[in-house]
Amino acid sequence: MTARSLIIEETPLVLYCLRRADDALILGHRLSEWCGHGPTLEEDMALSNMGLDLLGQARSLYSYAADVEGRGATEDGYAYLREERQYRNLLLAEQPNGDFAQTIARQFFYAAFADLFWRAMTSSADDTLAAIACKSEKEMAYHLRHSAEWVIRLGDGTGESHARMQAAVAAMWSFTGEMFAMDDAERELIEQGKAIDLGPLRDGWRATVSDVLRTATLDMPASSWMQQGGRAGRHGEYLGHILAELQHLQRSYPGAAW
């Protein structure tokens, strides 16, 4: 029996939805790995909560992509039957949880971006994306607040937590540039008013990050080299392992309903 794969017609709008859906799914999946293993019960619940928010965003975006594509795809088809090279998530999202500081750095950098991104997207000319943005914006504002508070606690806390938080910020830094990347497909949507220009978000993001890091007594990394590739399906070695787990049942029992 051959495992099915999905052939997708990646029009600019479908691709746009899949990219954001993949960010949310993969980052949510990472957060869900913490469930049952968090540093406190309260934080265990908070990490699951954020994972659930992201999973919900992913599902809305996949469903919309399926509508737009109009070829009978489903949210589960996109999530469970695409190959690694078809996934369009940011490299940041697939980075491993590491210690709690790394999870927090990853969440903070992403949320500081997604908070601005979804707020701007609330005025998208695409009604469905605008509606998804309204819900996501509130969720990401909470993720930003929560993760920023932890960056500050850990940066300011003890010698050990300071060192771990600083190392985590450095480790995640080179994956932040990709969040602002745009290609021709996105520019086409920007012209139609459906997508937003990411360029102007950069200053706001940097201001939030530098504010929080300063309060946390942490240094802003100086390096300007940024890794890219996730948006075009060129991933690191981590995504394959995530998909091996995530897709296990759908791949093992092709066609079964669960």
């Binding site: 799914l25 293993h37 406190t40 619940m45 999973l55 949210e75 469970y80 850990l154 937590s161």
Partner: protein, 326 residues
């Protein structure tokens, strides 16, 4: 930071428990009054409740592990979200229960210490492995189902904080139970492989679920006092029978076989009679020899140890903030 400090410490309450106090206490219980955290209570009542509520809390927390094992592999996004939310609910149950137990004057850290040192018990059921997706269905249907049987009477427990926690918990447990049953429905109406997976899960979880109600009434140690104090309202065997009676028709609806050749309906009593439970297996699991006892404790210890620097940092930061505010 976790202690609610409602109560006087042990040394302050210890002295004379005279007969009239005890009699007045029992009269309140008999009149179905709720005992609250700051009310006088016999030391044995306090100790019994602290043990029971904390064991219950430990069970919720350890119970996150077998199901947590499937969150990253759930077969659809809908199932994944439901499972993650379910396991998160169990964490919430643990939190309410530790908070209820803390009203008896023992801190969450102390209860955690008892769990991690291996001195405190938690439900035997969580020492079995969740090896297939159907186990997620079976756990929701049967384990949450058995938990509900145990917990509904606890909503009327004489100790107010415990009773109130149970009311909140029971609502969520019945949602979990329906969700688990729905997974079983899907599997048992699915492909041959899925149906076999569901049957196999039922075969493995059925007997351990019957053991969840504890030893038979003939040997149960704590029941008499707990009954008189209205901590417990039904005996282990009564609750077990209620569970069997409720579950047999559900298994029939699924078209699955309960793995008990002696199971039969008794017209005279109106109950489903079940076969001999392997109490030796139960004893072994309680003694630490179940298939996953070591892994469960190791996972909790690892999370606790790896979280230590995080908790220390939060405490250090809070202290600095407090000093800065003065």
């Amino acid at each position: 930071m976790y202690t609610q400090a409602l109560n006087a410490t042990d040394s302050q309450i210890q002295p004379v428990e005279d007969m009239s106090q005890a009699a007045a206490f029992q009269a309140r219980i008999d009149a179905e009054e709720r005992i609250e955290a700051n009310d006088w209570m016999p030391e044995t009542y306090r100790r019994t409740l602290a043990r029971q509520i904390s064991q219950h809390a430990h069970s919720e927390i350890v119970g996150m592990l077998p199901e947590g094992n499937w969150i990253t592999r759930a077969p659809s996004l809908r199932r994944k979200a439901a499972l993650l939310a379910k396991v998160q609910d169990e964490c919430g149950h643990g939190l309410y229960l530790y908070a209820a137990a803390e009203t008896l004057g023992i801190s969450r850290e102390q209860f955690f210490g008892q769990l991690l040192s291996g001195n405190a018990k938690y439900s035997s059921i969580f020492n079995y492995p969740a090896t297939t997706w159907a186990d997620i269905g079976a756990i929701g249907w049967l384990v949450d189902g058995a938990a509900i049987m145990n917990q509904i009477p606890l909503c009327r427990c004489s100790y107010g904080p415990y009773a109130r926690a149970m009311i909140r918990v029971c609502k969520e447990e019945s949602f979990h139970q329906r969700q688990g049953f729905e997974i079983m429905v899907t599997l048992s109406r699915g492909t041959g492989e899925q149906k076999a997976m569901a049957q196999d899960a039922l075969n493995r979880w059925w007997w351990p679920c019957l053991m969840m109600f504890g030893p038979p009434d003939t040997v149960s140690e704590h029941s008499d006092a707990s009954m008189a104090w209205k901590i417990k309202r039904f005996s282990n065997d009564e609750l077990r029978q209620k569970f069997v009676d409720a579950t047999v028709p559900q298994a029939q609806h699924l078209g699955l076989m309960l793995p008990d050749p002696d199971l039969r309906f008794d017209e005279a009593s109106g109950h489903w009679l079940y076969g001999e439970i392997d109490w030796n297996e139960f004893k072994q699991v309680l003694a630490g020899n179940g298939p996953c006892n070591r892994d469960r404790l190791a996972a909790r210890r690892k999370a606790h140890a790896e979280g230590a620097w995080v908790r220390d940092a939060a405490a250090a930061h809070a202290l600095k903030q407090m000093r800065a505010a003065v």
